[in-house]
């Protein structure tokens, strides 16, 4: 665990030195611009605009980082051969994977929390005060983080055996498919093809369900989010990530480095 921690901290340091956190500047500018614009019109939907825009930006920026850095986590270390000296140390391959995963999740957590702070600052600027219902935003942001964790796990798995370009394709394809899980489950073909329906239903249970993490509309309108959903999403993201990481560890443990 100590060794996985060392890998994680180094991964975080790499992200920081590669200026990944510079995206925060972009996010801050976006929030400032939006706050000034809606602050000027003032027709009672300022906070809705800020919340929707903020949450979408947090989600999209997080996804971009998770996918683009995630697919290089292992591949880059194999390709540049930085892994050679490391794996000769007393570190197990799964510890390395876990560290890489933890490092990127840590980066995303720090980044997301900074953006969350920016979002609340923008809200405060346009409304001059915060309400109890604004706390729902925190849950929405937590769900985004859960979603990103799952995406990192998937990207890491693909990073173990394919090139970044292919891994980006696989990860995005899974992500997009995961947004339509509900539709696949209730799909009724007009041609009444029972085989296709069964296939889609089976697939819908295998695919990661990303739909459940999206509560942006509810959060923007300040609607309650049931505690059961929080629990369900937490358990789901944790279990699914663990399974994906186990598969990654199995794939990677017997892999011959070039």
């Amino acid at each position: 665990m100590r060794r996985a921690g060392a890998v994680a901290l180094n991964t975080f340091r790499e992200a920081v030195r590669d200026r990944v956190l510079y995206n925060l500047v972009f996010f801050a500018l976006l929030m400032m611009l939006a706050a000034i614009l809606v602050g000027g019109i003032s027709i009672g939907i300022e906070d809705l605009v800020i919340k929707s825009l903020g949450l979408s930006a947090i989600s999209v920026i997080g996804l971009l980082i998770a996918v683009f850095i995630g697919v290089g986590l292992v591949y880059k270390e194999m390709d540049k051969r930085t892994l050679y000296a490391l794996l000769a140390k007393p570190v197990r391959r799964w510890e390395f994977l876990l560290g890489k995963f933890g490092g990127l999740v840590l980066t995303l957590a720090v980044n997301t929390m900074a953006m969350a702070a920016g979002l609340f600052a923008a809200l405060l600027y346009v409304k001059h005060h915060l309400e109890r219902t604004d706390a729902v935003l925190l849950i929405a942001i937590y769900f985004i983080l859960l979603k990103l964790t799952l995406v990192v796990a998937l990207a890491l798995l693909f990073s173990c055996y394919s090139t970044p370009l292919l891994a980006i394709l696989y990860t995005s394809a899974l992500y997009i498919a995961g947004l339509f899980v509900e539709e696949m489950r209730t799909f009724h073909s007009t041609a009444a093809n029972p085989l296709l329906e069964a296939l889609l239903r089976g697939l819908s249970y295998l695919l990661p369900n990303f739909e459940n993490f999206n509560v942006m509309a509810a959060a923007a309108h300040g609607r309650e989010i049931p505690g059961a959903l929080v629990l369900q999403n937490t358990v789901y993201a944790a279990l699914y990530s663990v399974i994906v990481l186990l598969v990654a560890a199995a794939v990677f443990s017997r892999r011959n480095l070039k």
């Binding site: 100590r2 060392a6 540049k80 050679y84 794996l87 007393p90 017997r254 480095l257």
Partner: protein, 319 residues
């Protein structure tokens, strides 16, 4: 400490290639050998012989098709073995966003060391490999030889009992090579076992207690450098000067090679005194008489030639 530091038994490795990786090429073919505890062992062979393949198998970067190996009595699949070994990869490359001090500290974290101990060791290693002044520069700005030095530092940082170096001198300037030689000798004095690969035969002759010669994935010879050299017939070389070469000298000069105003003449040991007598008779000034040692180089060449001849013979008979 007597006994084997490294025991390799029937180690075999195939690399897939071609369409869908369906075909396999044997890169290491049933390698069996031992490295004694406390010795400096040189792993010699031409490009593509299988030296790096063997080393990568030993440190667990790749997995064998067949065979086993043990280091200090522990199977190479045992993670505990990794605490006792140090490894320098071929053409090492490290995180280019870190400085030398940071990268060494990072590697040190995988051994059970306290923060203070880590700090002290990193500073000592940087001094040892001559990177003290460059320790705060990011590795992306390092030259090849400097990276090689970082690689060596991380390999010996934790006082491993067995040090495995894949071409430790490559990319280094003459001073660097000398420093690496000194480090290897120091490791030996401290009682550690060193296995290193090289194609530079003089390095091996100078440093090694024993060498193993590998060609085409097979071990072709193992023993003290002198023993292996001794397999070749030896002769003598006479270096002499001759001012005026009358007709009487022609017989001797026929076999000599002229370089500038000097001549070199190679003769067998039995002929030596006869030829020296002749040279004296024609008024030659003898500059030196030296033994011709067949170098490992020739040993190499002979092995490869023999392989080629055999391959050609098989091809002909196959048709």
């Amino acid at each position: 400490m007597p006994g084997h530091a490294i025991e390799i038994e029937n180690l075999t490795k195939d690399y897939p290639f071609g369409f869908l990786h369906l075909r396999k090429k044997r890169s290491l073919d049933g390698l069996t050998m031992q490295v004694e505890s406390g010795e400096v062992f040189g792993f010699l062979g031409p490009n593509g012989a299988g030296k790096s393949t063997t080393i990568k198998l030993l440190v667990g970067l790749i997995f064998p098709e067949a065979g086993t190996a043990r280091i200090l009595g522990k199977p190479i699949t045992d993670i505990a073995m990794h605490g006792d070994i140090g490894y320098l990869p071929e053409q090492p490359y490290f995180y280019d966003y870190l400085t030398a001090a940071e990268v060494l500290d990072y590697f040190a974290r995988f051994h059970d060391l306290t923060a203070a101990d880590r700090h002290e060791r990193v500073a000592r290693m940087l001094r040892k490999v001559g990177l003290e002044t460059a320790r705060k520069i990011q590795l992306r700005k390092y030259s090849k030889g400097m990276l090689q030095r970082v690689g060596l530092a991380q390999a010996i940082l934790h006082d491993p009992k067995v040090v495995i170096l894949d071409e430790p001198m490559s990319g280094l300037d003459p001073i660097g090579r000398r420093e690496v030689r000194d480090i290897i000798l120091e490791l030996k004095r401290e009682g550690r076992t060193v296995l290193f690969s090289t194609h530079i035969l003089s390095d091996a002759e100078m440093l090694c207690d024993r060498v193993g010669v590998i060609v085409g994935g097979k071990l072709r010879g193992i023993g003290a450098p002198g023993e292996i050299v001794g397999m070749k017939a030896q002769g003598m070389e006479i270096l002499f000067e001759l001012r005026e070469s009358g007709s009487s000298a022609r017989a001797v000069l026929a076999k000599a090679i002229e370089t500038g105003d000097r001549y070199r003449l190679q003769v067998s040991e039995q002929e030596l005194y006869g030829v020296l007598e002749q040279l004296r008779a024609v008024g030659a000034k003898i500059l030196s008489v030296a033994q011709i040692k067949a170098s490992l180089e020739e040993y190499f060449m002979n092995l490869i030639e023999a392989d080629r001849a055999q391959a050609a013979a098989v091809e002909v008979s196959g048709k």
